[in-house]
Symmetry: C2
Subunit: 404 residues, 2 copies
Amino acid sequence: MYKINEDYLKLQGSYLFSTIAKKVNAFAQENPDKKVIRLGIGDVTKPLAPAIISALHNAVDEMGNAETFHGYAPDLGYEFLRNAIAKNDYQDRGCKIEPDEIFVSDGAKSDSGNIQEIFAKDNVVAICDPVYPVYLDTNVMAGRTGAFDEAAQNYKGVIYMPCRAENDFVPEMPKENPDIIYLCFPNNPTGAAITKEQLQVWVDYANKIGAVIIYDAAYEAYITEENVPHSIYECEGARTCAIELHSFSKNAGFTGLRLGYTVVPKDLKCNGVMLHSLWARRHGTKYNGAPYIVQKAGEAVYSEEGKKQLKEQVAYYQKNARYIFDHLKSYGYEVYGGVNAPYIWLKAPNNMTSWEFFDYLLEKANVVGTPGSGFGKCGETYFRLTAFGSYENTVEAMERIKTL
Amino acid sequence: MYKINEDYLKLQGSYLFSTIAKKVNAFAQENPDKKVIRLGIGDVTKPLAPAIISALHNAVDEMGNAETFHGYAPDLGYEFLRNAIAKNDYQDRGCKIEPDEIFVSDGAKSDSGNIQEIFAKDNVVAICDPVYPVYLDTNVMAGRTGAFDEAAQNYKGVIYMPCRAENDFVPEMPKENPDIIYLCFPNNPTGAAITKEQLQVWVDYANKIGAVIIYDAAYEAYITEENVPHSIYECEGARTCAIELHSFSKNAGFTGLRLGYTVVPKDLKCNGVMLHSLWARRHGTKYNGAPYIVQKAGEAVYSEEGKKQLKEQVAYYQKNARYIFDHLKSYGYEVYGGVNAPYIWLKAPNNMTSWEFFDYLLEKANVVGTPGSGFGKCGETYFRLTAFGSYENTVEAMERIKTL
């Protein structure tokens, strides 16, 4: 008799955003007259920029013509896209990353879930608390953790690094040495940023103890302050200890188009084995490349026209972020993030738990946010709002919250 | 110090098709005057059908408009596509499969690689020999096999089921009971088909011993004979023992567009746990859905216009398959497949090994095929040609082979 992967059964509840979607759908069905404003899941609302739409149409035409049809894509992604990424996201910023160190994929969620596969099961993983659930859940599913401890509200064998107001939501070095460290800055869910000096300390630490950092830079386009790094490779020594994940979802609105990439520098080695080779092998064996038309859309992100249009699009969401931040503050909320990130992290009022505030906000203001406790124990009593709604909805949501 | 997944190091060489691509590129660079005809990798050459191109353009326009923009897709895929699949591929054929048992993905390669994750590490896997490398390699990478045994030319702990001319390339029940059985019919690489009666024996066997069958139906559109099943769910009892994988690559030319789906019936349970729930959890945690525009293209595959156009497209490749089959036979080759599949499986002449024939064919005829030994020990001395070239190239390739 075959057996299932029992590690899956250690998972607590369903995936956070699936749970929220179900709750919101139920509320909407019971209250068809109420206009629900969704500032929960980090999904964008602006349509794709004209430069991207145009690139998509052109690529679709190519696919309809025998001379220009594209079948299977190269394993790592098309060169035109990898070259554009290497130049714009790295070399122009002074980071030494070559095109063949870039792996194009169908998005940072897939990559952040799959990357743990190239590591042994008995590595010790360190994550921030609160954290994007995918880092933790995929390690649970891979058997890299013990069971969930109900009393402690955490998985055995995982190093949780608390991120609280006291440490500006930037974790401190753990007491026990981890093998794999997940960092995400600008942070999801807290919206906190890390300075270049603070990140350099982590890079030095990882190189010293022989740990690998998985650095999620999905929100780098939202950085507004000078001393906040856009890439971990701005730090010296990162090429020997860090993998970086990138998304096209938040800088270019590709949530429904699916495109991302992962950087694995060739200097990143474990006893002489390049992690680059392992990830290449995974890509080649379990994946068949992002669609040609989507990679062409990705190329347009880096065109002069695309850059200009996307700068405006990001500015639109940044304006929402500041609007939420400023208004909640003026209403007396304890509020964080929103300056270098599209997320606003607030403390639930009146000693409510995160889910209590979720239900309260949905019922009373018909506004959907994300309960902080869904991101981990240290997220309890916190709440996340996103800047990805329309400006009009953002303003209306703040009006509604004001009257609570 | 972190450690890598040592199971990756058990893998032999690089992914087969990457190796072939490198060899062919090297030859093409050294011989810029030679016109190479590629009948190796199973990549299609016809452009996307007009109905699909039209659906793509419409969907791209929707993505450029705030009112019709689509962000994150539902976890399992859009209902419009799952409904079309359930109706056309199952219910119309008398198979009881519901839309919510269908998981839309970026292709059958990803799914066939990822599906093993929901099973325990200590399951015993049975594969055909020769076999599509992904089934085996992904189990090696997951640590579900022992080391590669050079002398025996196989991985310890894996049940290999020889498929040879003597058994019409349909495997026999293994002596030892497996837990997970991979079957692919019409078969890649041999092009062999299985009758409904033969498949029913496998379903009964799996239900009896408590094994799960992972059934790859990627090539079902190429079936021309009556008694060959298009789905394993045509067999009684398959809902309690079988997962089915489907591709849009071969029936609709989506190799560069990326779309597939996996069926996990809700009756498929292991000690009361639905595999459907486990796969849903994997989908929700590690994947973020196929692009909206690609799912709209998938919907067009099932439109009246799409069906008509794709029937012609498949017929074009079927004609190539018969052309290759008939001509190789008339040249005196020992040749199989080609009737219910886009693959032709031939015996290398003059006692050549598969790779010797690969080099010979590339050098002398400038035709690229796939060495049978790349699919397993029992593929040695065999060779695979595909019907996915243009008719003109197929004819020319046969002319060249005729003169060898």
